[in-house]
Symmetry: C2
Subunit: 381 residues, 2 copies
Amino acid sequence: MAEGNYTVTPWEVKGKVDYDKLIIQFGTQKITDQLREEIKNVVGDMHVMLRREIFFSHRDLDLVIKDWKEGKGFFLYTGRAPSLGMHIGHMIPFLFTAWLQQKFGVNVYIEITDDEKFMRNLDYSLDQTRQWALDNILDIIAAGFDLDKTFIFQDTEYIRNMYPMAIKIAKKLTFSEVKATFGLDVSSNIGIIFYPALQIVPTMFEKRRCLIPAGIDQDPYWRLQRDIAESLGYFKAAQIHSKFLPPLNGPEGKMSSSIPESAIYLTDDPKTVEKKIMKYAFSGGQPTVELQRKFGANLEIDVPYQWLYYFFEENDEEVKRIEEEYRSGKMLTGEVKQILVQRVNEFLERHRERREKAKDLVKDFKYEGKLAKMMWEKIHE
Amino acid sequence: MAEGNYTVTPWEVKGKVDYDKLIIQFGTQKITDQLREEIKNVVGDMHVMLRREIFFSHRDLDLVIKDWKEGKGFFLYTGRAPSLGMHIGHMIPFLFTAWLQQKFGVNVYIEITDDEKFMRNLDYSLDQTRQWALDNILDIIAAGFDLDKTFIFQDTEYIRNMYPMAIKIAKKLTFSEVKATFGLDVSSNIGIIFYPALQIVPTMFEKRRCLIPAGIDQDPYWRLQRDIAESLGYFKAAQIHSKFLPPLNGPEGKMSSSIPESAIYLTDDPKTVEKKIMKYAFSGGQPTVELQRKFGANLEIDVPYQWLYYFFEENDEEVKRIEEEYRSGKMLTGEVKQILVQRVNEFLERHRERREKAKDLVKDFKYEGKLAKMMWEKIHE
């Protein structure tokens, strides 16, 4: 696919995305050096995904920081449509959200849309999507959230508390308005047509600004919220947008759960990780050692390098070293892949340990933690 | 409007309805003398509204009776979109449902759609429709339901228990399928598009046949249920349909809350009842006493006579006497109207007493009665 020839919608990412153009197309703001520095000054630190610009775009993030400085605070909201197994790309918003929570000490709300997943797919039963919800929640908890300031909820369980607010939101959105954004048409079922209202409710859980960390493909959903929020007495949802970690097997599009060789799953064992990366990881290196030594690798399309850069190698000097040696031809694709295998397996080992511990924490995040308890006592109107 | 020139949809009843034609148009069944006798044999009695054929049409009522005879039982379901004040026409399905409950000893579920009413009308707030719900529930309880076998619930409160079943139903109904039936289009809000699923849920509260007493204009709603019920493992909803009590001010259409002179409200005091009937009740009598004595009244279009026949005069001999004397010209319009004033005021006085007592029973019907308690512990899946 030619450069500039790409598609980004909430249900499809195709081609080599031009992120600068996307900012103009979507009408969002670039995260400027100044804004990044401001965050660093406030929290004394900068997450690798912010530093390396995997989080690169925003709406009203400047206002969120301003609110926070003025003592008004803000809150974080993210979510997930449960699936059979999560891949490492799915962890990006959760890891970054957990970092923001640590640094700002704010509440986090995580909506698990077991209803949406069920209604969007003819093949899935509600039992299945609820089982996946419970499973995915373990991975989400493993990202490291604050037990007393985080509420994880499934739509099918928390609906009573959200429904009055949901129908107030729903009353302001016509079928015409949601259909393009959510990819619906007259043959869509009436449940999935209502669902956008439930996705918007958590942006109104507090009378403060809500910040949503998510892939930039999700931005269109939140435009609907921004159109109606103030008429209901709430803030327009602020957002901080990430790029897509490229799929393992190619530099375009995004990882897909339905193409196993495109992704590393959180449950992949060390051997599988090694096999997948060595076999499928798309390389920007030259086809032979001789050519690689002479011309070096094209890092623009090299997936192992990009994964290291955007996610797995936090050390700036080490990344710099790999970049220089790989580009110059001093380093070979196989070596870079081996570094990635090691980093990914380190990450997954840590994740598995945290996931194991998460099993004892589910009931706290869902029902009994300080924030969770408060939320179950509250009807959102 | 010429004979045969009428409209019956769930949101509009216009003209002089030809009920025999309507049965053919809607594809329902006439309640035959045989079926009526069968009911009488089973319960030992026949309600005036059944005897005088205000309930005149059905779907699967024969199967309901068969199930009951075979010990399989059935249950009753009705409901109401709350409004500011109910008129006497609104009481017909509730009075008849309460009678069926008394005779068959079965459970009754009454859905109060505070969500639907709010979402259908731009002018109404959710606070308003919930206030009306509480008010209307008093009138409904006054119809005389069994405290331990009746569950009255508001959608905005009971949604958690209904939602899993609602999304299973929703997944089977497309926008195209519901839009004509419910009078929706692409400018409808996404909440009211989802609502049909919530209306269908109570038909699946038990794994028995569900019987719905309602005006025949409501039939199209239940056709959707009948299309999908069996695929979800439940019965097609059975129905028993009533004619419309004609509006006070004319023999066509049905009473309307927005045209005060068309209806007697449950809160109208005796003086108001008298004034409304004497002033607005549409008469089939002759314009002068002389002409009336000579030609008699046209009972086909006489509203006071029809109200007595269909609702307020249960005594068959008395109705026969009025019919003969009024038709022959022996009785004048003023006299018939006076009889109606008396009957309506007797009914309203009894209603007011029961409504007053209902105030202490609300929490039982909604939360603490035997059936209510059981229903709050149950999630419908």
